[in-house]
């Protein structure tokens, strides 16, 4: 029994890791007022680039860096369209998802089905990993897991406590006022979109060089979209995103656990999505103000208007 519980919780952490990374990135992006629906595509780019670079150089960390760089680079498309051109962010984000999925499929074609010889090894933290139960669940994990948690805390601190973070939030709430205070709304929105892209790509890298150690087309399997839901679920707070992401990781794992009991796998696969809607509904019923997105989310900002 202990084994099953420990294994389940351990896997929930693994499944939650890419969700947490992508959600943290999207929180930063949306806090600046830009909705980025391109996560799924950027994640796919991150996954394929990390895989290719790791395979050819034998250096997983180099793969991670390359993935982040690629994710940031492709996100510039969305930043340019939504910030400079004031385009519709829903459409532009969808375009980014299509491009990302398409390009990753093309780049990764020669690598489909090839196993990775050197992958990102799990890290066991001395002392802490010896704690019964908790040690095995939390302290023998892939480096991405620790990174995701640290980055979520750092992002929380960044958004809530630093000058730049507060400026980013102000561009999402009231860009006009921010600009009169001398904040460069355009620059900060570009920055936030690009940081968000880096996070998404990192999530993709986790999938291809740590989680599954191989590349197949479409391996992101909707995780990017879940991250967008999680951003709302976490009410635009990276700290809350930690709980949210691992809870959802749990939903994924429970599917496999309940399957032998004769419960339809499709029914279980439905659960994370039903839960998202249900919980959003609960939040809305309890305190609708909590669902308040950044006031200017998805609204293009036009300099010097009015």
């Amino acid at each position: 029994m202990e084994d099953i519980i420990v294994l389940t919780l351990h896997r929930a952490m693994v499944a939650g890791t890419p969700l947490l990374l992508a959600t943290t990135g999207e929180v930063i992006c949306e806090r600046s007022g830009i909705l980025n629906l391109g996560i799924e595509g950027v994640m796919a780019i991150g996954a394929v680039v990390a895989f290719i670079v790791t395979m050819t150089t034998g250096q997983p960390w180099l793969g991670v860096l390359a993935a982040i760089a690629a994710g940031m680079a492709i996100s510039i498309i969305h930043a340019f369209a939504s910030v400079t051109l004031q385009a519709n962010q829903v459409v532009s984000g969808l375009a980014l998802t299509m491009l990302g999925l398409g390009l990753s499929g093309m780049l990764g074609k020669p690598y489909v089905g090839k196993p990775l010889a050197i992958k990102m090894e799990d890290l066991s933290i001395p002392w802490l990993s010896d704690i019964p139960w908790l040690g095995k669940i939390l302290f023998i994990q892939s480096p991405f897991f620790y990174l995701a948690i640290v980055l979520a805390f750092v992002s929380w601190f960044f958004l809530e406590r630093t000058r730049l973070g507060i400026q980013i939030r102000s561009t999402g709430e009231n860009p006009k006022a921010a600009e009169t205070q001398g904040v460069n709304v355009f620059r900060l929105r570009y920055l936030s979109v690009i940081i968000g892209g880096g996070f998404s790509a990192l999530a993709g890298a986790h999938l291809s060089i740590s989680y599954s150690k191989s590349w197949i087309e479409g391996m992101t399997a909707g995780r990017g979209w879940i991250a967008i839901a999680l951003t709302i679920f976490a009410l635009w707070n990276p700290g809350r995103a930690i709980w949210a992401a691992f809870l959802f990781g749990g939903f994924f794992v429970v599917q496999y656990l309940l399957q032998p009991l004769g419960i339809s796998p499709s029914f279980l696969a439905m659960l994370p999505y039903v839960a998202t809607l249900f919980i959003l509904l609960l939040i809305s019923l309890k305190d609708p103000r909590k669902l308040n997105a950044p006031a200017m989310l998805a609204e293009p900002y036009k300099r010097g208007e009015r």
Binding site: A87, L94, Y273
Partner: protein
């Protein structure tokens, strides 16, 4: 030093709008060519292959029209939703729910009823299914302020899993010999085809009628006007006493219902049974978003843009086979086109001039 100056453009002629679209498509073509070149494929060959695969032969044209039917239907519905700034990206799920309703109706009543009753009935069932799945996000948005982008997306996944659950479980047909899928619809429920093609003409005619009717609805009726006000100036709409819930429900029922119509064509016209979600819709719900966008949210133009993107789908299949490109190639083409279309919109709405000064 060069200074870029932009000013708003107020009088946008139809010609300018059309020319901007063409320029955007051409610019996208250049970028797509570069991507092909980098991937080691001769771009001129690849692009000509796409268009000769879809429009270059009689067979290609027939396939293109077959694929255009769902794109026109869904795209038309989306123009209405998008005009009200209701970002319905759940047409995929609405289509599947329509398919579930239509299949149930066909299997349950098909044997007993003649064609001229059962066919309209399954279209009605498909519409109701799609509309049902469309009004859920409308209620969630208007009553509970839950973002429709999220809810429609979640509902896509929920419906796909639900459908899979049905076809591997209670609805699994004996005629499938253990494979997932329902039994075939009775003959009376199956749509007629134009001989020698897969074009189910009833749905094609319906798609054209819907495009025309919706055009009238959007531009000539009070409801269409209200839908546009809800999108463009919700504050004014509130003062004018527009009932947001009612308008939202109706427009999402229509948008989802048209996706339901599309599913009837796929199930009763092409497959004749309900199979895996990916076999009923290979991403039509998402491609239709670009169709609506290229049509500048005018239902009539979705007929043209629907055929255009159907051509890319058919041509994309052709180059997968002839050039050995991955299935995702079509996504690159679509994504690039969409990026350039939104860029084109900027130049349509703004006058951009370069000023040279001697500084």
């Amino acid at each position: 030093m060069i200074k870029i100056k932009t000013t708003d453009r107020y009088n946008i002629t139809r010609l300018r709008s059309f020319m901007t679209n063409i320029a955007s498509l051409l610019a996208a073509l250049v970028v797509i060519s570069i991507i092909f070149l980098v991937a080691g494929v001769n771009p001129i060959f690849a692009i000509s292959e796409i268009f000769s695969g879809s429009f270059g032969s009689f067979y290609g044209i027939k396939e293109t029209i077959t694929k255009a039917i769902p794109l026109i239907l869904i795209g038309t519905g989306l123009t209405l939703a998008f005009r009200a700034k209701f970002w319905n990206i759940g047409a995929e799920g609405q289509m599947l729910m329509g398919a579930i309703f239509a299949t149930w109706t066909g299997l349950t009543f098909g044997e007993a009823l003649p064609s001229y009753i059962i066919v309209p009935l399954i279209f009605l069932a498909g519409f109701i299914g799609g509309a049902f799945w469309g009004i859920i996000p409308a209620i969630l948005k208007i009553k509970y302020s839950i973002n429709e982008v999220i809810s429609t997306l979640m509902l896509n996944y929920i419906c796909a899993e639900f459908l899979t659950m049905l076809i591997v479980g209670p609805w699994k047909g004996k005629a499938r010999f253990g494979f997932p899928g329902t039994n075939n619809l009775p003959d009376s429920a199956i749509l007629g085809l134009i001989p020698g093609s897969r074009i189910h003409y009833a749905t094609l005619i319906l798609a054209l009628i819907c495009a025309i009717v919706l055009c009238v609805v959007i531009y000539k009726t009070r409801f269409g006007y209200e839908a546009r006000v809800v999108g463009e100036n919700p504050d004014a709409g509130k003062y004018a006493g527009i009932n947001f819930l009612k308008t939202g429900l109706i427009l999402m029922a229509i948008s989802g219902g048209l996706a339901g119509f599309a599913s009837v064509g796929e199930v009763a016209g092409i497959h004749h049974y309900l199979g895996y979600p990916a076999s009923i819709s290979s991403g039509y719900g998402f491609t239709a978003i670009i169709v609506a966008w290229l049509a500048k949210l005018n239902p009539l133009y979705t007929v043209i843009s629907g055929i255009f993107f159907a051509g890319i789908l058919v041509g994309g299949d052709a180059i997968q086979i002839s050039l050995g490109l991955p299935a995702a190639t079509v996504e690159i083409v679509n994504g690039t086109l969409l990026v350039f279309l939104i860029m084109g919109d900027y130049f349509l709405n703004h006058k951009v001039t370069f000023q040279f000064s001697n500084k």
